[in-house]
Amino acid sequence: MPSSIDILNVIESKLGGKVQIQKAHLSTGTIIANNGLHRDVLQAMIDADEKTAITAITGIDLGANLGVYYHFRTSNAFVTIKTELPKESPNIKTIIDLHPGAAFHELEAADLIGLNFEGHPLSRHFVLSENWPKGVYPLRKDVNPSEVKLCPPDPQETVNTPEGGKLVKIIIGPQHPALLEPEKFVVTVEGEIVTNVEPRIGYVHRGIEKAAESRTYLQDVYLVERICGICNSCHACAFVETVEKIMKVDIPPRAKYIRVITLELNRLHSHLLTLGHAGLEIGYETLFQYFWRDREPIMDLIELTSGNRVNSSMMTVGGVRRDIKESDIPTIKTTLETLRGKLPFYKKMYRDEATLRLRMKDVGVLKREDALKLAIVGPTARGSGIDIDVRKDDPYEAYGEIPFKEIIYDSCDTWARMNVRMDEIEESINIVQYALDHLPSGPIKIDLPRSVPEGEAVNRVEAPRGELFYYVRSNGTDMPYRVKVRTPTFANIPAFLATAIGENIADIPSNFVSLDPCFSCTDR
């Protein structure tokens, strides 16, 4: 049984003495592995547990040194491998040969904090803009955002059509009818078949991680909420939970339930949005209109509970800001039951409708072993038969007390990924109904000091798109020293490349939307 593996014991027996193991420092454990030993630790973890996958790489400016923290999840644990490098020569061996899923994480860390991953095939701006000056890394402490002098912008982006004439490069984005958000994908095609996709993110990069360091914890709650307008509650919740972990406080049970209700309403509107958007992308506009019509009552519920349709601002450090009124509960329940009544129609449509099946069945196949290797998260991974759901694996808030099913499909295609979301809508309705029925009484918030004691914490939340990761380090003041956010879409970019390559160019939109991409999250 893989779930009975004690990963820290495995590492201790293989590398004991060479690396320093701290049990239960960050989540399950922290391993301090300097001088290139991080690769050995990772190899030991991959050998012991096939579900070892990277969650994030946090680069942190520690003064004279740069810290590189690799965060890995396994089937039953969450392990951080810490390494320190001198600032003058921040060279570290890449891990992408052991774990290909780390490729974009390394590219991002290289761009933002100036780490040099030896052996990484790519070296280009990935998140920062093209006119960003060379050698300036925004997440280093000596860089002041207002003093950065930009280089003159490139006159024109060029497209190099490869020699030979058989291959054609097509640029999708930054402004494109199929993209709601500006990102660029350079797609190489041979005839109708896609042979390569080069993603270029960063069009929505606002520098939120850096900005969070110069604002107070309370201001940061509203800042991180605006990382993404769709899964805003998840960001706020993940951040406040991380801060609460550093402060070592437990919030009142009623606040936990209200947080769960807010998060699930968020998931409901996000999944309805995606299922409708999928209709739009495959040219089935009626479906889009239907789903968005039925999404509006959920937006009204979010407004009813929080006072705003989109950014609900319910979360705060120590609890929630608004209570759910006793008189509102019947409205919430009836609205959700009305939605439940409409689900069989949609389910039948997604399962049996010929148009949808033709466009989605056996399209964009992402095999289970590939999804594991590429560290895919959320409904995309669950559509490939991987049982990964933070709500089950590492329950937070009240999820440990609420019964619900983890939806897994194993046909690994676009159809499976959309059906995972379809079924999760019903589970979310069940969760909200259960939480309303079992809503504990008591306070909704505890008052906490504005300054946070010195410390660090990691936290994970299951956002609608998958595992959302936060790392916060405090230096004892009222502003965080470092905030690291790894969003689910960032982890799922490799899935887009894997599903698009080898398929028809006409299937790009449906593959793309089946990952439910959110680039404002990805770029931060």
Binding site: Q175, L180, V204, K210, R226, I227, G229, W292, N311
Partner: protein, 160 residues
């Protein structure tokens, strides 16, 4: 009209898409979302302008045929909003291209976007007396509304 996200969090963008759906149905006012800037008269911009998007935003504006109008949607597009001063953010949309109407809010409700669009359309309707007309949608919690006076006159219509 055409929509461009110059660095938004998706909040305003989704509200714009919600405008097209049955509950709000902006098409009944003769407003249609176009896929190409070359077919559009009105550019809806959401989000603060990031360094990477600034050049692209200008290029999209240049591709639009005159007369053309820009509507800044949301607090970020109006002034930079919560992201003002972030290391990769230039600021509000009016730092890059001229803006005709500002619709504040975080995000503005679909109704207030609708209201802004209709006010813009009314302001363009001939015949018009030659006086300045303010186009703004009322919305609470609007940051720096007073710094964003928007004007549409026949003069600048002709100039465009």
């Amino acid at each position: 009209m055409i929509h461009f996200n110059s660095g938004a969090c998706n909040g305003c963008d989704i509200e714009i898409v919600a405008l097209l759906t049955p509950k709000y149905d902006v098409e009944r006012f003769g407003v249609k979302l176009e896929p190409s800037p070359r077919h559009a008269d009105v550019l809806l911009v959401t989000g603060p302008v990031t360094n990477q998007c600034a050049e692209r935003l200008k290029r999209i504006y240049d591709q639009m045929p005159a007369p053309k109008f820009v509507v800044a949607i949301g607090a970020c597009a109006c002034s930079g909003g919560v992201f003002d001063g972030c290391c990769n953010v230039v600021g509000g949309v009016d730092k890059i291209i001229p803006v005709t109407a500002y619709i504040p809010g975080c995000p503005p409700r679909p109704e207030s976007i609708l209201d802004g669009v209709v006010k813009l359309l009314n302001a363009l309707n001939p015949p018009k007396p030659k006086k300045q007309k303010h186009v703004e949608a009322a919305k609470p919690e609007a940051p720096k509304l007073e710094t964003a006076p928007a004007t549409v006159t026949e003069d600048n219509l002709v100039a465009q």
